[in-house]
């Protein structure tokens, strides 16, 4: 059972946290204008990186604040945690461009 560093409350047991999946997936500015496929990607498709991964967590049993983290999905080690108002140094680096799923 891991300790997870809440940016506000400090290290707490992992049972106090809720996992929010990949970070930095913004809600489309104009959903009505995106294609079905782009919309599907927003709704269903998330990176599933093996290794360093930018993801969202919420200290649900504590201060109930969401935050971002860089975690290695192979070792489960947390590299860093970030308040939502903090800049995201790794975001761009971790973001990947992908080709479409259209057959």
């Amino acid at each position: 059972m891991q300790l997870i560093e809440c940016p506000w409350c400090g290290p707490r047991e992992e049972v106090e946290f809720h996992y929010g999946g990949q970070a930095h997936v913004p809600y489309p500015d104009h959903p009505a204008e995106v294609s079905d496929e782009e919309w599907a990607h927003y709704v269903f498709f998330r990176d599933n990186t093996k290794g360093r991964f930018a993801e969202r967590w919420c200290h649900s049993a504590g201060c109930r604040r969401w935050f971002n983290a860089i975690r290695d999905t192979a070792t489960y080690r947390f590299e860093s945690v970030h308040r939502l108002d903090a800049p995201q140094p790794h975001a761009t680096e971790l973001a990947r461009s992908r080709r479409s799923t259209a057959p």
Partner: protein
């Protein structure tokens, strides 16, 4: 109460048949194959077997990054059932179950398929509604299924706590008599041996590091043992799927999570069937040698570590003792974890990809083992004909665009 001195030696485990004297050879990879299957687990090996058996395609390599069937196949709780809610799901799982019923003969391998039945317990009124809904759908789909009242549950599995004063009393259960368990290593090795006999190369310690592509075709697979040219590529890597699709630049809506399981010491037979419970999350069977085999819930976060958090096991034990008071002093002997790839609608993703000659098979979540022969059969057909087999046709990648999901979350029982 005490049987006193030990009697004539019982021989648990003696019912485990010997493995054959020879299983498979470790060949050097050839330069080129008609079909390269990435992933030497149950699905990959079954696909190889049916490619040879049903379609005469034998110039095939199965690439395994570690040891054969050492991933989820070696780590699962071996529950086999087909009592799924939606037509699309019950179709492929039921065909798979029918194949299971003839698999021992087909493979000439004692896979110990034991049709001891599966109970899915209902603990709330909504569980009951969902259960009846699933049973009625199963019947109409030709899947054996019945609804059991608590006293009937007790008759099928006397050790289940059906008293009304527990936190979540058992209000009944769905029952599929033809469901059961099998010995996972035996199944995998049975497929592997047949594939090997058919001339298919099973290549271990061969990790895929990249793909050579030409437009919308993959021309070769780059591996730690050199580049291998491929006419067709099938991805059967379960939890590792995204690692491969990332190399191909294909986005697939799966997330890899740790799924833990555990086993007790060998015990005298107490548990005649398989019991699964959603509200009181536990699923348990007593395997052939007498050990209790249990699965826990999927850990919440993405993880490729083949290990999970122990609080999940502790919660699992609480549920087990709550539902099976006699388990109190059974002992946890070993825990482990696999990596399950879960999809947004808890249904698999099988079929075409943006590459003309690459087929995808993933997203089975916790349902992969029971589907092994079924998906092997369908994927082999799909590869041989270049067209999706009817049983996998509904499970395309583009259903997430059209919205035609096969959502097994809402109304399915425990998704294991």
């Amino acid at each position: 109460m005490s049987p006193g001195p030990s009697h004539a030696p019982r021989t648990p485990g003696a019912d485990l048949p010997e493995h054959p004297d020879f299983l498979w050879r470790d060949p050097e990879p050839k330069r080129s194959y008609d079909v390269v299957i990435v992933g030497g687990g149950g699905h990959g090996l079954a696909t190889a077997h049916y490619l040879a058996k049903n379609h005469g395609i034998t110039n095939v390599a199965v690439l395994e990054k570690g040891w054969l069937a050492g991933g989820n196949m070696a780590r699962n709780t071996t529950i086999i059932r087909s009592n799924y809610l939606w037509d699309e799901s019950s179709a492929i799982y039921e065909q798979s179950l029918k194949l299971w019923e003839g698999l021992e003969e087909d493979l000439g391998y004692p896979i110990l398929f034991s049709q001891r039945g599966v109970l899915n317990l209902a603990h709330t009124l909504q569980d009951v509604r969902d259960s009846v809904r699933r049973v009625e759908a199963n019947k109409l789909n030709g899947v054996d299924a019945e609804w059991l009242e608590p006293d009937e549950v007790r008759r099928v599995c006397p050790i289940v706590n059906t008293s009304t004063d527990i936190r979540y009393p058992v209000l009944g259960a769905t029952y599929q008599p033809r469901a059961g368990i099998a010995k996972h290593d035996y199944v995998a090795w049975g497929f592997a041996r047949r594939a090997h006999e058919a001339g298919i190369d099973l290549i271990q310690d061969c990790e895929v590091t990249g793909f050579a592509t030409d437009g919308n075709r993959v021309t070769g697979v780059q591996t730690t043992r050199g580049t291998i040219a491929a006419g067709t590529v099938a991805l059967c890597a379960a939890g590792q799927t995204s690692v491969l699709t990332d190399m191909l630049g294909i986005r697939v809506p799966v997330q890899s999570h740790p799924l833990q399981a555990l086993v007790s010491e060998l015990l005298e037979p107490v548990h005649p069937t398989v019991v699964m419970s959603n509200a009181v999350h536990v699923y348990v069977s007593q395997a052939h040698k007498g050990e209790l085999v249990m699965g826990a819930g999927v850990d919440s976060y993405n993880g490729y570590g083949q290990r999970g958090a122990f609080h999940v096991i502790e919660r699992q034990m609480a549920a087990a003792v709550e539902l099976f008071p006699v388990f109190a002093r059974a002992h946890l002997l070993r825990t482990w974890a696999g990596i399950v790839d879960t999809s947004p609608d808890a249904s698999p993703i099988v079929g075409r990809t943006p590459y003309d000659n690459v087929y995808l098979n993933c997203g089975w979540g916790t349902g992969g083992f029971k589907a092994t022969p079924g998906v092997g059969w369908a994927l082999a057909h799909t590869i041989a004909h270049g067209e999706p087999h009817a049983n996998v046709a509904p499970f395309t990648l583009d259903r997430f665009v059209t919205g035609a999901l096969v959502d097994e979350h809402g109304a399915a029982a425990v998704a294991h």
